[in-house]
Amino acid sequence: MSQQSQILTRRIDKDILEVFIGPQHPGSGHMRIILRVDGDIIVEAEPDIGFVHRTMEKLAEGREWVKNQPLFERMAILDAANCTLGYIMAIEKLLGIEPPPRAKYIRTILAELNRIASHLYGMGIFAILLGHSTMYMWFFGDREVFVELAERLTGQRLTHSFFWPGGVRRDLPSGFKDELEKGIKYFEKRLKEYEVMFLKNPVIRSRLEGVGYISRQKAAELGIVGPNIRASGIRHDVRIEEPYAAYPELDFEVPIYKEGDALARTLQRVDELRESLKILKQAVNRIPEGPILHEKYLKMFTKVLKDVLETEKRVKLAPALFNLRPPKGEAYARVEAGRGEYFYYVVSDGQNKPYRVRVVSPSFRNSIVFKYVLPGHRVADLPAIYGSIDYFPPEADR
């Protein structure tokens, strides 16, 4: 198949129309793309991000370590578990502790539930950008199943704030395994319908084939992450490169597509949904018994805290966890979230607040695509590229 649908452009000054897509535009999120178009062809594109910037890195410096978890999950609340897990892992690296195995499995389960929900969200937006309202509704409707499951596990639909350094906040609720398996069975059936309605729909196909092609070399050069880079044929998944949680113990495949166009990115996401289901099935069956918080902190539990843990299976926040003082030093951690790799770099000066937290979100790294890939495409390709990159402005702006 032909990879190139880009059209040769010439840079001329006159006859160029400047179109501002966003930030108040049905086709973009809270961001603006300044397009210079020659006829229907984009000559130059400049992403203008930062409309939902909250300076999280600065805010994090003024709060205790665990208090930053609800802050960071507001980068992408649809993917809350994945985007805070990196921060918690970075703290754990500073402290030099590892969560117990059961906690690792619970983390994996929630991370995968979030990945599915996040992919469905992204593809829903993608579908509506292509004008396919049915798939938008279907993706969002089916996402509800996984949001519901996450709610049963964590107590909140989206903003889970589910991790403590060294463990998780709650154990699996009773009956969770059955419900999860039912949900998986339902979703496997739905995936077949998605194929007919969306992935193999000739209209959608013609919109995606060859659009937004990013070559293998260009992908590495631009430093894009997540499903986008894997759709360009680069073998990079943090779950394999730097294994965390229970991933190294589970049997799953990370799909790689060579084509690098919007279609490959879409298929990539759908394949990852399948793999996520596989991971969930295994994780919920193989989950070991045991504590869900590191014993170092369990030892410090008072009687009330222990009672609650035993009766309600809820890990209370021991003051030792709240007044965490990691030793002086730095550590980085990264996780593979739905949209790609979250990178956290924390610097501790031994105080109860972080000295510096650096977070690089996948959408921020992906936003560079608009500048370097859009030129040479038609204006109507913008939604297809924007959607297939699965760009999420609040995540990019932090």
Binding site: G131, S133, N201, V379
Partner: protein, 344 residues
Amino acid sequence: MAIVERLIDLILWPPLFYYIIFPGLIFVMIFEMFLIWSERKIAGRVQMRYGPLEIAPRLAGAPQLMADLIRYALQEVIIPRTVDKLPFVIAPIAAFVIALMPLLVTPFSPTFLPVTTEGSILIAAALTTIPPLLLILAGWASNNKFSLVGSARESFLIATYEIIILLVIASMSFLYGTLDFLKAVEAQQALLWGIILNPIAAITYFVAVMMGTSRFPFEIAEAESEIVMGAFTEYSGIMFGLAMGISYARMFVYNIIFVLLFLGGWSPLGGIVTGNYILDSIILPGASVAIKAVIISLLMVFTRAVYGRYRIDHALKGGWGFWFIMALVSIGLSAAVVYLMEVF
């Protein structure tokens, strides 16, 4: 009382009745409301939800569209300072009115039509080509980049679908050997429905109409996620409501032509004789035509639930490539049918 009788006489005066009440303005309004409601309902059913429901759940939310209409009617009409005012105001109104004009020559029964002419097919086909020009005017007058892009897309599309529609209509009049709707329907009653005689023409016409009235997947000229609302980005209030209605009105008119050319017009209900003039010559055949047109229109709005939208170059490629050839093939098929009829 004389005044009341005069008024009733005036209303029932065929040209006025025809153009204002049935199948003119009022009927088209009701039809549009029904169609938009059923479009939302159909999409809702396919999309795991209800569609309009909150206003009168027992009536499945049917009064919702009344509410929408009232809202559009009462909303402030904002005319931006930067627009070219006269064409900006005239374009949607004129487009709506002209979109209904072909009804002047489309018969709803052998006797129920205001203008009798030998070339009614020709006139109807000619009149249907005007509203898109006014859409382009609306976009141009709006002085907005999105409107401009929208009307540019419309102007690309118009050439594509108009030529297909005109070719198909030509092939059918070739088949029936007439340019008069009445004779075309008579020919179908004598022989077979047009859709059986020339199915290729029927499919081609169907797709071209979807393209022309911006139904999915050809909803390119007002693609919301790309160019906001196309040519109508700057409109508000009742002007926007009118602009929204244009494509539905055009679809209705195109589908009346579809029914007359392909679906046997007023048969089978038109053949019933009860003795009552109004029943025989207006209600039964009229209902027969209208119901068929509604069913075809529902089919067209159903595609919203299945498709996304094409890119403009895909639509042009499909239009000038595949469907243009199909239109030519349909002429060939008509010729073959005419030849076969003469042989047997």
